[in-house]
Amino acid sequence: MAVKDYLRQRFFPHMWCPGCGHGTILNSLLRAIEELGLEKNKIVMTSGIGCSSRISGYVDFHSLHTMHGRALACATGVKLSRPHLNVIVPMGDGDALAIGGNHFIHAARRNIDITAIVMNNRIYGMTGGQFSPLSGTNIKATTAPYKTIDQEFDVVQLAIAAGATFVARSTAFHAKESTDVLKKAIQHKGFSVVEILSQCPTHYGRKNKEGDAVSMLELHKTNTAKLGSKALEKNPGLTARGIFVDLEKPEYCAEYDKIIAFAMKEKVS
C-alpha cells in the first residue's frame, strides 16, 4: 500500500506551517506502519491537543483526538479494553510532558503496550510560541522575553526512569532512521517511547535565530550523533540518537488477562 492510502486526503493540505518537521515524522510513521503491514482498522491513533496532535485527523485509522495532555490516559482505556489493537499516541512536548506528564510516567510504569511518540520541537506552536518543559534554559519564547531559566526534561532519561521498556530518539532529519526505530517501537510488547526532534521555524527558529527550516534541519544533523558512534565519544555534548532501552518485562494487558483467568476460575470453583 502506498503511504497516501493511509491518509485522509480530503483534509489536505494539512495545517502545519511550511518547514514544520511534523509532516516528515508523519511520513516516517506511515512508512513504518506500511512496512509492518498493519491493518488500518487494527490501529487506534490517540492524540491530545497541539500541532502534533492533529496527526490523528489526517490518518485513515480509528482516530481519537482527545484533550490537552490526556492522550495516554484515553489510550490506556482503549488498549486495556481491546489489547489486540495497535495503539499509537503522537504527542507534542508540552502535551506529553507538561500537562500530560503524570499520565506519561504512569503509562511507562505500567508497561502497557502503547507506542508513545514525542514530537519535540521545544515550543508550544499552536498557541504561538511559548516555552515548553523541553525548551531548556536560555531560549527565547513569547512567555520568556528575557530568555528561559527553566531546566528541561531529558525525555529519554525520564522514560527509562519511569519504567518504559523501549526508549529511543531520532530526528526529523533522520527520516529513514525514524522509520526503523518506529517499526521496532510498534512491534515492542510494552510501553515504548520514541522522541523525535522536530523543528518549528515559525515560532522557535525565528525567535532563537536558528534560521529557516533547512538550517534547523541541519542542526538535527550536526547537534546529534548515533549511540556508540565515535562522534559521540569525541563530543559527549551532542544529543545521542538510537535505541537506549529495549527490555522484556511483563506487559500490563497480558498480566490483566491472567487476573481475569484466575478470577473466572475462582468463581466457578
Binding site: H65, R70, T76, L80, R82, N102, H106, M264
Partner: protein
Amino acid sequence: MKNKIRFVQGNEACVEGAMYAGIDFFAGYPITPSTEIMEHLASRLPESGGRFIQMEDEISSMCAVIGASLTGRKSMTATSGPGFSLKQEAIGYACMAEIPCVIANVQRGGPSTGNPTHVSQGDVNQARWGTHGDHSIIALTASNHQDVFQITVDAFNMAETYRTPVILLLDEAVGHMREKLIIPEAGELDVVSRLRTSLGRDVDYHPYLPREDGRLPMSDFGGEHKFNVTGLFHDMWGFPSNNPKVIRGLLRHLTDKIENNIQSITRYKEHYLDDAEYIMVSYGSSARSAIHLAKERRARGEKMGVLELQSIWPFPAGLVREKCADAQAVLVVEMNMGQVFAQVKAAVKKPSRVFLGNRIDGKLITPTDIKTYFRVLQGRGV
C-alpha cells in the same frame, strides 16, 4: 432466591446495579466516600471477563472510561466532590463527543477537601454546570438501596440510549448505610444494549448523524468503520468544523437530545402526595427523613406528602409545577444551601410558597430538623 437478598452498603447496591446493567469496564481513583464502589468492582469485574484499572488520578480515570467506551464497553467511574471537579474536563469531552458512560459521585461536604466522611448534597449544580460550555446532562439519584440499584441500571440505559455521560448523584449517607437489597432476576429489569450501526464495510458510516428517532448508532473502535472522535465542534463524520451551521446544529443537538426527552428521563416517587397541603420536595438521603415525617404526620391526619426526585437533571420543572399546584407550602428538603430549592421556586406557579428546609453542617437532616422548619412556616413558633 435466597442468594438474591443481600445486606449491603449503598455503594455495593450501586455495584450490583452496574453489574446487572452489564458494566465491563471501570477506571477509578480512591476517594472517600465512594471507594467501596471501586473496591467491589476490582474483584467483581474480572470474574465476568470485565476489566478494572486503578489510574494515576481522577482525570485519567475519566479519560480511560472514554477510551474504553469507544471500543464498545459499558464503562463507569466513581468519585466524590474533589475528584468530580477534576473529572469535569473529560465529562465535557464525553458530552461533546457523545460517549456513553456513567459517573457516580457519592457526595461529601465541599468546597475543596471539605468534609470527606460526612454527608452533603452540594454538588447538584456542579453536576449540571461543572464542565464549561453549553450542554445538557442527565443526573440521577436515589434514597434507598433498592432504588440505588434500579437507578444505576437506568443510568447505564440512559447513557446508551442518549449517547451521553450520566451522573449518578449519590451521597455519603446512602453510600455507606447498610440495608436490604433484593437483586432482581435477569430479565426482570430492562437493560439497554448499545445501538450499533448495521452498515457494512464499504458503506459510508456517519458516526454523528442522528437517526429519525434522534439516536446515533455507534461503531466500535477496532470494527469495520474508521472514524474520527474529537472534542472540537465536528461534522457528521466526526471531523473538526468551524462552519457556523455545524456549530449551531451540534450544540442544539447536544441539548435537544436530552431536554426533549425529559418525559422519558424523569424519575420520581410520590409518598402520601394525594391531597397534600404541605409538600416536601426532596431526594437522596434527605428524602428518607422527609418520608419519615410525612408518614408520622399522616397518621395524625395532617395532609403532608413528599415528592421524591430521582432525576435532578434535566430538572423536571413541569412535574414539580403540577404536583405542587395545590400546596399551601412547599418545603425543599436538602443538604446544601438551596440548589434544588432554586429550581423548585422557578418551576412553581407561586414561588412565594416555596421554602428551604436544609442542613449544611455535615450531619444528616433529621425529621426533627424538618419539623422545626414546618413550625416556623406554619406560624407555630420555633
